[in-house]
Symmetry: C3
């Protein structure tokens, strides 16, 4: 399959009042451009060229760091219409002719994020089967106002007519242009020669190619997507909020279909790549970002943020924020917990209120109930942390690790000054600062002198 895609991403988005190129505005935490690129990749289009323009370096930098296939780019220095944008890729398109006799290209808008794999695949099939020079991806909508209408005669496409040029009869046409189109690259290169900026904006319109190819006897086809949302884009912050809201509800609906329970979706945001097992329950205010998986029977929320985390079965996470970590089965955490990157919370561990875990392994059935910081630590199974324990991992210059073996009991308000090892079933007494290793089964205790001064409050009041 030698097909490739060209993504138009040169736009500015002036009404966004930002220096970000328009396709870089985010839907559920990912640029619209990413939504488009990954839809291509899911449809097995891997050769992609991005036409960049406004603040192109932002797009360069994004493409450099993204996962997935590397994309080529071409620069559109001046923005002179969609046809002009495609012209910038002429060389890239021509190159495709070398490896295939009649290659096709899918042209997509980088700021229409809801293009989907099925639409791409099925439109490609239609395009190929019909031997089309161009296949417009369209949608039928209830309210076509503002979109280019697909004008047909006897089933043949005559062209795309923009809102301002519509006749009264055309105004009611419900089939509209999504902006996405398949082209035979040969036909496209021909059409690019013919597109002229004969319009009030002095711009080169890619949509003119339809009429040009049709006139020249090429086959022009269309594919009506079942997904009306393929046409949607955002020109301002309100539009962007609307797209976010649509995306948010689409994804939640998909998980509802899969048997996930949501009882109130206020504030809930589930990212594109999140995988939830049937029977998972997501409570209000919960945000799942990036690569998250959650196992059966787990209850997540309220107000829980997970980013790049895997959560096992039957966990209960209440008001937890966790990042780049692994939470195994039967873990309860919260309320008010933060788990920072590099942590592994093993089966049956309990993390209580006002606890921070960072870059540490917490063993099975270990309990960290309250007001504790465990950082850079390797903690065994069935360890009990008292309240107020601190792993002192930083001396102002370097960071060190703390090791706590199985079954240890760490007294309240203990400082464990790393590097330090607390042995198996060892104890530390409340209020101790432990600067050296504690042998297995031993008790370490630090105590000062204790005095009782009688009648202290009377004297204090007299002062």
């Amino acid at each position: 399959m030698p097909d490739c895609a060209l993504v138009l991403a040169g736009g500015k988005g002036a009404r966004m009042k930002s220096e970000l190129p328009k396709p870089m505005f985010e839907i559920l935490g990912e640029p619209m451009l990413e939504w488009v690129l990954s839809a291509c990749e899911r449809a097995e289009i891997t050769e992609i060229c991005v036409v960049k323009g406004y603040n192109a370096e932002v797009i360069d930098s994004y493409l450099e760091h993204r996962d997935g296939n590397k994309c080529d780019t071409v620069l559109q220095k001046e923005r002179m219409g969609t046809g002009h944008a495609v012209m910038m890729a002429r060389e890239w398109l021509s190159g495709k002719l070398e490896s295939s006799s009649d290659p096709n290209v899918l042209i997509l808008c980088g700021d229409a994020p809801f293009i989907d794999e099925k639409t791409i695949s099925e439109s490609r099939a239609v395009h190929r089967k019909g031997g089309n020079a161009v296949t417009i991806i369209t949608a039928k909508v209830d309210n076509p106002k503002g979109y280019g209408r697909i004008v047909k005669k006897d089933g043949n496409i005559l062209g795309i007519v923009e809102e301002t040029d519509l006749t009264d009869r055309q105004r009611d046409i419900s089939e509209i242009n999504s902006g996405a189109m398949w082209f035979s690259i040969k036909a496209l290169l021909y059409a690019l020669e013919e597109i002229k900026p004969n319009n009030s904006q002095n711009e080169y319109y890619l949509t003119d190619s339809i009429h040009i190819l049709s006139q020249a006897g090429y086959t022009v086809g269309s594919y009506i997507s079942e997904n009306e949302q393929v046409v949607l884009g955002a020109n301002d912050r309100k539009g962007l909020l609307r797209l976010n809201d649509i995306a948010r509800k689409n994804i939640i609906e998909r998980h509802l279909d899969d048997g996930v329970e949501f009882t109130c979706i206020d504030g809930v945001e589930v990212g594109r790549k999140v995988r939830l097992s049937p029977g998972v329950k997501i409570l209000q205010g919960t945000i799942l970002k990036g690569d998250v998986t959650i196992g059966k029977g787990s209850v997540i929320g309220v107000n829980t943020i997970l980013e790049n985390c895997s959560v096992g079965k039957n966990c209960v996470l209440n008001s937890v924020q966790a990042y780049d970590s692994v939470i195994c089965d039967n873990v309860t955490a919260g309320p008010f917990v933060r788990i920072r990157p590099g942590s592994i919370i093993e089966n049956g561990a309990k993390i209580g209120n006002f606890v921070e875990v960072k870059n540490s392994t917490i063993g099975e059935k270990t309990a960290i109930a309250h007001l504790t910081y465990v950082g850079d630590s390797d903690v065994g199974a069935e360890v009990n942390f008292g309240c107020g324990v601190v792993t002192v991992n930083y001396d102002g210059k370097n960071k060190y690790r703390t090791t706590i073996e199985d079954g240890a009991f760490i007294g309240c308000n203990t400082n464990l000054v790393a590097p330090v090892r607390i042995g198996k079933k060892a104890y530390t007494a409340a209020g101790s600062t432990i600067t050296g290793d504690v042998p297995d089964g031993a008790l370490a205790i630090e105590r000062g002198s204790t005095y009782i001064k009688d009648n202290y409050s009377d004297k204090k009041l007299k002062k």
Copy 2:
């Protein structure tokens, strides 16, 4: 009043993708079955039989542990329609004939949670007054699509026609079957003999009894409920979310009518049994579950969860989670506070940020301002806790109580190793670990040796 109810709860809910029987799915934290049972109980129907089927042991277990009257159950091993479900209770129904000459039974769907006391009571009155053999509880709705229509001629009910069997004229009938019906038990037992599985599903339909009884000369009546929501049920997770949303807004609306202030209801969830005084203010993200009462002038939220708690007047709870506890008047708590079961927070106490209270009494005007854990403690009035105080209630084997008398002052980062008693107006010095009782008015202090090493940072940097 010898009336009784039969609740059909055998269904599976395949589209829920869960092993829970359908009536066990929850609306605002309570199974739909519970909503139905408690509506019966509020309408003073106390003899209830539940027809269980799919994963019956889940229903058995729930009924065993629920508050309220004990319910009988019968098992419907195979699911062969609503008529079949009622047949399973034939013996139970016959038993009712012994204690009354003409008893009635209300048949309800266990997965239609919005049946209400008024509908039950008024339909019962209609049923009795008309001497009806059967009284269908109906509702008039704008969009009857999908529901069984009530077909009448000259005011008499001819039968219930399902969506698939509707004539064009019947399609516009707006009166629909809620699924709930009153029967004379005698008439019902007669009808059950006559219901045949003569349909494509080979099922016994309870609705066939209408035609059967009508044909046999019995009086068939109907009662149109003002509450359109009596017809609502859920077949999938989307439907369940919708029912939750409806329930959520219904209850909030009821409290608005009672003079409770809500300025933004996003994320707000108020359980069925919650009692709020006029003038209470509930902020966004607040969840009130189970048996909660809140007194006049209290402001609850944001993001506050109360479960089985009583809160007095003029309290301010900001980002608090409290469970099975009593909070008296003029208490302020939060932000970021957890109050665990068995706690009593007395008048005018202040609980500040990152404080956990568990199974303790906190006396009047006592202040626990920050980063403190008070567990298994009896704390008097006007006690002042410094920051970082820990009641050390667990020694790895047993839990012990801490007693703090009126007016005591607990220094910052103090460990109170239980069992221990801090006397009236006694002081503990910051950083002390207190392992023995402190007399009234005394100061207890634990101090180690203190050194100052000059030029430490220079040396450290040189290393």
Copy 3:
């Protein structure tokens, strides 16, 4: 410009079930009366008289403490209609005749909060230009039901007809009375003499003045506001919730237009006076109250509450509550942070989880990472706080300040007993209680005796 305004604020709001006068119910945290008064002030009307009635002392107290110009008040002891309310201000109105030959007064409802500056200014221009005796501020709405209709003949206003008195033809009139009107004070004083309580309520209706003045040959005009919301008021808690929701969305929409990013507005509340730079991102559950400004590039939320705070550029505040404080540029805070009044967080400082700052200055690039309380402190630049540090600022009688100089390193679980000074680049060892000053560059350490008891756990288990 000698124009003045009379705000009718005597109403009770019985259905609110509260003792608050109706205009004192709040929209986004401010009384409806405040919305009206400040709209007047923005339109440069500074002489305002408030007609108070029900629980007048609540309004007196509010007016006394509010910012902005002082308002006069008159008391309407009995509530006998809007005309009667205006009669109470007869003397105040007459007084205006002394300083101007033909002064005008704007009469406003104290419980219609969405009157806006533009409507006031433009209607004043219409009123003056037309030499009108009265100019009714109206709006054209899709659903006029319940509102007084503006009845015109040949473009001239005949009167305002209330819902109950409408003819069938009048029922469809879409232009309705907002309740706000400009009067020539002379004409108003004339009309007040003529208004009679000839209606079923025995009340004096101000709207009768239209007919009276028209009959007497005065010019009656109207101004149709573009802002349909000028007509909105609330009679019950449901209505108040609705107004809050409208206000909430209006303000968010305004910020969207200005280039602020919102991806999910659930639970988000932005007050009237908040100023946000383009490119600021506001996440769900965020509440901004009072006088808040936020600089470019800052990300605020989730669940962040800021009240009277200024936040600089490129800050990230996650689950923070901050009050009456200044947060400079590049500050990161959260999750779970509370910043109490009087704090200044300087550029590049980092405030981590479970940290409370109160009435303190935190210097540039200082890090307070976890579980720490900094109160009444002056902290320099590049200070590092370990976990669990407490500034012991209260001895049970007085509060004292803590000074920490640049580059100091405060060990974990350190108590700094104020008044105390930690010198430049000084260190304190973990677990120390520091009661005296620490010189620049020195290390202060407090340690007790440390013991290791071997085989402790074996013995403990045997017990």
